[in-house]
Symmetry: C2
């Protein structure tokens, strides 16, 4: 149990015990992976940790983020059910992963990429597809961060989340305003103002606490988006 130190304070004892090598499967996907449970706010791994494992979300939401020296934070991505995260090029994690709400994941031993690909070409294909999917998302998000207005950012975000976790246009936001702000390169206040204005404009419905969102005018939202 070495080198989990930077994040260790975030892990409950039961999880730390599971991170021992003996508890991990040798062949990642052929065997089911180890099921781990995290409470809201707990860390899965921290920047600088050894990248011994990668993960697949069973249920719940993960945020992948980096914090600058002065506290500014950027959330690179949110991962929802079935997403794979935590696979790294180097030996350590370059970002931090935390549970946004109650979370269940499967953990797989990463070993070296070469080993992974050689042992299981199918797994290689799945991992490659998942990494390319992450890259596609990151690229789209670059466009959003670099060139979209606050209103366009929120419109894109809502349509994206709706697509990922709702069949109709109604869903519960798993994350709070600060998380949305740090994902979109905005402040909490701007996120709040923009959402309430969209509600006033009849684009969306907002429930009491602000977490439940209903898309009332999909075309209007798509028009408020840029591309």
């Amino acid at each position: 149990m070495q080198a989990i130190s930077p994040a260790a304070r975030h892990f409950p004892p039961a999880i730390l015990a599971l991170h021992g090598p003996a508890a991990m499967p040798r062949r990642p996907v052929a065997e089911p992976g180890v099921r781990l449970r995290f409470a809201k706010g707990e860390g899965i791994y921290a920047e600088g940790d050894d990248a011994e494992y990668f993960y697949k979300v069973v249920s719940g939401t993960v945020r992948i983020c980096k914090v600058l020296h002065d506290g500014r934070r950027q959330i690179e991505a949110f991962h929802l059910a079935r997403d794979i995260f935590g696979l790294e090029r180097g030996a350590t994690h370059r970002f931090t992963a935390e549970a946004v709400d109650d979370l269940v994941v499967l953990a797989f031993r990463a070993r070296t990429l070469e080993d992974l690909l050689r042992d299981d070409p199918d797994l290689g294909g799945e991992l490659m597809a998942s990494v390319l999917a992450s890259l596609d998302r990151a690229r789209d998000h670059l466009v959003l961060l670099g060139r979209k207005s606050a209103r366009e950012k929120i419109a894109t975000f809502l349509l994206n989340i709706a697509e990922r976790l709702s069949s109709d246009g109604s869903f519960e936001l798993p994350m709070q305003r600060g998380d949305i702000a740090d994902h979109l390169g905005l402040t909490i206040e701007t996120v709040s103002r923009t959402l309430t204005r969209m509600a006033r404009d009849g684009l969306i419905g907002l429930q009491a606490c602000g977490r439940a969102v209903e898309i009332l005018d999909r075309d209007g939202l798509a028009a408020a988006d840029a591309d």
Copy 2:
């Protein structure tokens, strides 16, 4: 010669001829790939084109970009010598690739990822590493776009470029101000002002035409950067 249409106007006839299937190698890296030459400003592929080939830069610079309906542009990345680009998850390119300056690349037939990985595990490893490298860059760039000030963005950019194409701290910027602006989520004017101010502050040296840059105070630049 189907489906290169959207970008066809950018390609000189010689290149279009080379894009015919007969001219392409069947095994991407074992065989050397087809050498292609592009003049400054020419397109390698456009958003929506079939992703038949991926590429490795021999010399020169490529920009990967997307343009919104109203003309706003985001440059996702610059690729320099030895970088691999153009590998996609789906069947089509989701961004546009253009030559920033005179460019030489090797083109490889992409086929399906599964085929690639099965035929040549070593290649699979190389591609996976390259995709993960792209992802790492994209992630760092997300942090820059979402949370850094103009000065921090320029500082990060200069240090990054210096590391990639100069052993000492002296190099020639391959791209013009507009490209830098669209890469960093700024305007031309802000890029120009920030660079001249950095020169006044003694952090960098700027030559006449503004392309030649010399890093005079690496620590100062690193301090101007955020993380």
